[in-house]
Symmetry: C2
Subunit: 394 residues, 2 copies
């Protein structure tokens, strides 16, 4: 019989999708260039030329059976080794190739991670504000996602609320740093304290608590800084990575799950991920894409536009009176709305052709998200719209 | 906690994998060219040059954001339209682009199909001999796979056994034509009778029974014939296709689910497939690979080598006394072993460096599978090994 579970999901329309459809429709009226569409988190810079060059070289020089052949179910060994070496060099880790499982982007890595360390009924804690897709991602595994209220002072962790919610039913904690939608980068202090609490509670509960770290924005960090690498702080960490943002190729669906070998069971977990794949119909990312990222995993697209845009918007919006925690990375910021009802505020913004996402969908009221992965000229042109709105409406 | 479900799966080692490991090890001793490795169903002919040319053209001419950008969750509309048009032209169907869901190969399509029309505890019937991966594919959805005994006369359907097993608990029937491992192609007569039984039982049971058709070998059919297209015989058909074999690119993980619009709910099912993706971490196949197959979906690699190999082997093995149902397609054949214990027979074959797969893993005893997707010269050299074995052992 047709599944009631998935049928029931058809009703729900995502706010972000509705806004993006508004932007497209409005674009047809006045030209998309005149719609300041800050709704979608899509990379807006080209892939590094070296990536395309590598794909073309592979197609022109390798035998068809090698370049288009089946990847082993855990990923191509040479690719996994290059990724492990890159992580070790950059973050002082001790990965071997066998600790890496190639996945279809971070979504694929998360699908494996949740199934590895939780079962039906188990709780996974995450922190507001959070990526709303975590709900279907987790719910459809049978586990339950619970959301710790935000620390709106700096969008680090609200530790008091966290400790209250960290009961024996919790088997995994899901973090996202640099964060969508706040742009916050968890500090070393935050990660140290998080790890200490997890370690203490593991002992108290008599069972493991796994840290699942979703880090597709790891390479988009401002002021010349580097995002502290979560796995370095806690051995039972499953790092879920996507090259979508760093290499600007979200459509190629390439990423990985990296299991910290210090957990002592990384071999088993990576092999179990291969078993999970059989049930969910994943049989590795594209071979040619795996081979090409292995060669370009230390590169990034020119990500500087995101920092440029952040600075322009942060300065102007602050001077217009917005209360903003300055993002440490990503291509998002999360200002406080000038009225308590963020939906009403974002509706008003549409009158000025500003497409902003109200914060309710991210698990916190009264804020809004700006996805500033658009070109800088358009960001600059949008400032006048923000000014007009603030003068007219508030 | 670490999942007991997936941990428990680690013990089981596939017979095919063990044989393939033997072949690799033996190859190191005597040269892989001297091991007649008939164990693995990997395409052995190159991708059509037009596919590689198209990828290179896309990379060189399209904007990075277009070619590497996110695909909509149901697939790129222009790609879906081209595939629908190709199926309509070739098989007299009435698909529109919206009836097609782009998937990561047939495994990805099947993962969506099972979840669309069955739930935990529902039964799915399939027919021996069958692809052994169907077990984890189905079991991990919570549904139950039951296997109808083989019709060894011609490897069409054993209808008596089928009707006995077709109880009200059955919500889907899974077929694979052309078939791995038998090479049988279901005739129009078989599909007509199957459809009539399903229609009758639907009425009797008062619920739908869906036909899930796994057809990665659809384009490998011998004697200039075409495989009858299952969906044309029964409206509630979900066709699961992979380009792995037709275009010889199993590593690119590209295929689709095609929902027969005559079922009346194809819109809903394709949209539900998009919801399923959120839970299993699938977010479309690679964009550049989608775009390239759209342009080459009417082509195939040069598949003639498979028919050449089949004829050589079929003639020689028949003359050596083997009982073989001549395959109508695929790159497999499934002769009867000259002793009841197929495992013992295949063990003997290893002494002659013939790597054959005993049939038990495919749900029937006393046969063996030959995967003749290797080069023709090697097939010819293997004949002497078959001769020596038969003279010495039987």
């Amino acid at each position: 019989m047709i599944s009631e579970t998935y049928k029931a999901m058809l009703g729900g329309k995502s706010v972000i999708r509705e806004l993006s459809e508004f932007a497209t429709a409005r674009g047809k009226e006045i030209g998309y260039d005149n719609v300041f569409d800050y709704s979608l988190g899509n990379p807006s810079v080209p892939v590094p030329q070296a990536f395309n060059d590598k794909v073309i070289e592979l197609l022109n020089t390798m035998s068809s059976m090698e370049v288009h052949g089946y990847s082993p179910s855990l990923g191509i060994p040479s690719v996994k080794e290059k990724i492990a070496a890159s992580l070790n060099r950059r973050f002082g880790m001790n990965y071997a190739g066998k600790d890496i499982f190639m996945a279809s982007g971070a979504a694929g890595a998360l699908a494996h991670a949740f199934r590895l360390v939780t079962g039906p009924g188990d709780e996974i804690l995450t922190f507001a504000p959070f990526f709303p897709e975590y709900h279907p991602y987790v719910d459809l595994t049978g586990a339950r996602l619970k959301v710790v209220p935000a620390n709106t002072a700096d969008f680090q962790i609200n530790f008091d609320a966290f400790v209250d919610m960290l009961t024996p039913s919790v088997h995994a904690v899901l973090i996202n740093t640099p964060n969508n939608p706040s742009g916050a980068v968890y500090s070393e202090q935050t990660l140290t304290r998080l790890a200490a609490i997890l370690t203490e509670k593991e002992e108290q509960f008599g069972h493991e608590i796994w840290l699942i770290s979703d880090e597709p924005y790891r390479e988009i960090v401002f002021d010349g800084k580097t995002a502290p690498y979560a796995s370095r702080f806690y051995p039972r960490t499953l790092s879920c990575y996507s090259f979508s943002k760093s290499l600007s190729l979200p459509g190629e669906r390439i990423g990985y799950l990296a299991v910290n070998p210090a957990c002592g069971v990384s071999d088993m977990l990576v092999n179990m991920a291969g078993q999970i794949s059989r049930g969910i119909g994943h049989n590795c990312p594209s071979s040619v894409i795996q081979l090409a990222v292995a060669d370009t995993c230390d590169l990034t697209a020119d990500l500087s536009v995101y920092e440029t845009n952040m600075n322009i918007l942060c300065d102007e919006l602050t001077s217009l009176g917005f209360d903003i925690v300055r993002p440490g990375g990503t291509f998002y910021m999360f200002p406080k709305a000038p009225e308590a009802d963020a939906v009403a505020f974002c509706r008003k913004a549409l009158k000025y052709d500003l497409v902003l996402v109200p914060s309710d969908t991210f698990g916190v009221g009264g804020y809004f998200r700006i996805a500033y992965c658009i070109n800088t000229q358009k960001v600059q042109r949008s400032l006048e719209a923000f000014r007009r709105m603030m003068h007219a409406e508030y």
